[in-house]
């Protein structure tokens, strides 16, 4: 029983970390979806880009992980803004599928550009993954420690930003109803650009966090979690920022906790993503507006 409880604490820790990454990246994706009506298939590649920005700063230039993560946030935010201004904004108004296909193309270009520049080999940050600290009830790797610190700082800051600041409120307003927001005097264009900065920055942060927690990664890092990010967006209700914050945490926790051996032996770890898919289909059947969305005509 003792061991089982230790395992539970460990899984909760892992779940909170995975959940925070999904929550933060999901907030970006859902706001972009709500404001620009784009299912951004390149979102995973923004994570990859962030992870490699962090890698360059960390192993190439010898910066510590915090500075590297900050650099990744800024770099990825600028990348997302550049893609918006150079490609997506001039081409907008072509409908959901056309815009999404354009982001598919951008994603393919970004991923393969990273492959060409950085090579397909598996990389890791210059952190000593073996220096595990024992917290008595759970053990924590340095990568997880960084992720926990980011979680504790960024997730509440994000909630405050969305709830208290004028810009955060404007973003939620435009995502909810663009025309109404414009009529209320919100500069929709400006908010539209800022939301890409925010989504890009959060994706860059998520990418470095994933890379630090996983320990080893390759240029497929972001693409492999894209469908989990999309699942987070739907679980939270498309366009709902708070929904995505909570849904990401719930999804991360549920996926980790499902493997707990105290739970009738637990699910095999490799079936975690399948659980996310089952949750997605089940939710769409019974609560299509998302966990926290209001029921309205979809």
């Amino acid at each position: 029983m003792e061991g089982s409880l230790h395992e539970l604490a460990q899984l909760i820790l892992n779940g909170v970390i995975t959940g925070t990454i999904l929550a933060l990246t999901g907030v970006g994706a859902t706001l972009v979806f709500g404001i620009h009506r784009i299912a951004n298939f390149a979102h995973g590649e923004y994570l990859t880009f962030g992870a490699y920005m962090g890698l360059i700063l960390n192993t190439g230039l010898g910066q510590n992980l915090a500075v590297s993560a900050l650099g990744a946030v800024v770099g990825t935010a600028l990348l997302a803004l550049a893609v918006h201004l150079l490609v997506l904004k001039p081409l907008r108004g072509r409908g959901l599928v056309a815009m999404s296909l354009i982001t598919v193309g951008i994603g393919l270009m970004l991923r393969n550009a990273v492959f060409m520049v950085a090579g397909p080999q598996i990389r890791q940050y210059a952190i000593d993954q073996s220096a595990v600290s024992d917290l008595g009830i759970a053990r924590i790797s340095p990568g997880q420690l960084v992720a926990i610190v980011i979680t504790v700082v960024v997730a509440p800051a994000m909630a405050l930003f969305l709830g208290r600041t004028p810009l955060g409120k404007s973003m939620r307003a435009v995502a909810d109803n663009r025309d109404l927001a414009a009529v209320a005097g919100i500069d929709v264009e400006r908010v539209g650009a800022y939301v890409w900065l925010l989504a890009g920055g959060l994706a860059g942060l998520g990418g470095t966090m994933f890379a630090a927690v996983q320990g080893a990664f390759d240029p497929n890092l972001g693409f492999e979690v894209l469908f989990l990010i999309f699942t987070t967006v739907v679980l939270g209700g498309i366009g709902s920022a708070y929904g995505a914050l909570v849904a990401g945490l719930v999804l991360g926790l549920v996926m980790e906790l499902s493997t707990w051996s105290g739970l009738a032996g637990g699910l095999e770890a490799r079936f975690k993503p399948v659980l996310a898919f089952v949750a997605l289909i089940g939710l769409l059947l019974y609560r299509p507006q998302g966990l926290f969305g209001r029921a309205r005509i979809l």
Binding site: A39, G95, V97, I102, G105, L108, F115, I238, P288
Partner: protein
Amino acid sequence: MDFLNPAFWTFVAVVAGIYAILSLGLYVQFSLAGLPNFGHVAFMAVAAYTMAILVVRYAVPMPLAAGAGIVGAVLLALILGIPTLRLRADYLAIATVAGGEIIRYLAMNLPDLTGGPIGSIGLLGPGQIAMYNGDWLAFLDRIGANLSTLVGVRVSRDAVAAILVWLLAGLLVLVLWRCERSPWGRVLKGIREDEAAVTAVGKNVFAFKLQALMLGAVLAAVAGLLLAWQIGVFSPEDYQPTLTFYAYLILILGGMNRLLAIPVGAIAFSLLYSGTRLLNFFPLSLIDSGSRAFLRLFLVGFLLVLLMAVRPQGMLGNRRELLLER
């Protein structure tokens, strides 16, 4: 790679025909009914795996196993369609993305069922080589022998496959041409343009959408079976989401809402795609072949963005009936 090697180009022709059939499925779903399916490749994967498992493990005859593969793909269409088709199009888009990834993930992680990462060759477990396409190759050889005596020249196996695949593609184009002009096809187009209006005249929009999704799944399954037979060995890596986007590219290359343009799009795409294999002259020869594979996918992405930007109606597109505003 030799430019003038006929065997290479025959193989390209076969694959182009298979891509054409795959894209026809997407045509029914997306161009006719307006359903954004981003997980088309999953239908191919389900059909191929079902067929291969039945043939290898249970010695089921090829036609029966192929039928079961198609049924499998239709079941997947039902699983994805029933929860999402009553909702806004975004939901189907996301459910199909997730569905496609889950199928590939399962194929990778259920080695006892699917052979795992090494693919169909491992279906009988380690140490044994599993082959599922013996009947298909024998079938091709029989036709090839008959054709050879008929025309007096030896006809290669791939040439027979190319002829068969393109005959089937042509037949399917004709069938869909008829379907599109039937009352059924007009309802689908109506749903694409204005769902509320179609509901108002008393049509069951959900049922029509589900039918379109299922028909598209059947076509993708046929393409999946043909591709599996043709390549002989497949693994989960052969069902990357990029394959779905190739099908979209073919749809756009030919012309978004032109049925007859799909074969043209498939040929154009295959020429472009295999053409980039020949990009081994200076200065590109300085890049090693591994990086060139990435360069090729990079160019596919670039082409997709460029086409959507400058010519969303495609080469032979129909501007009037261009419907991207969804």
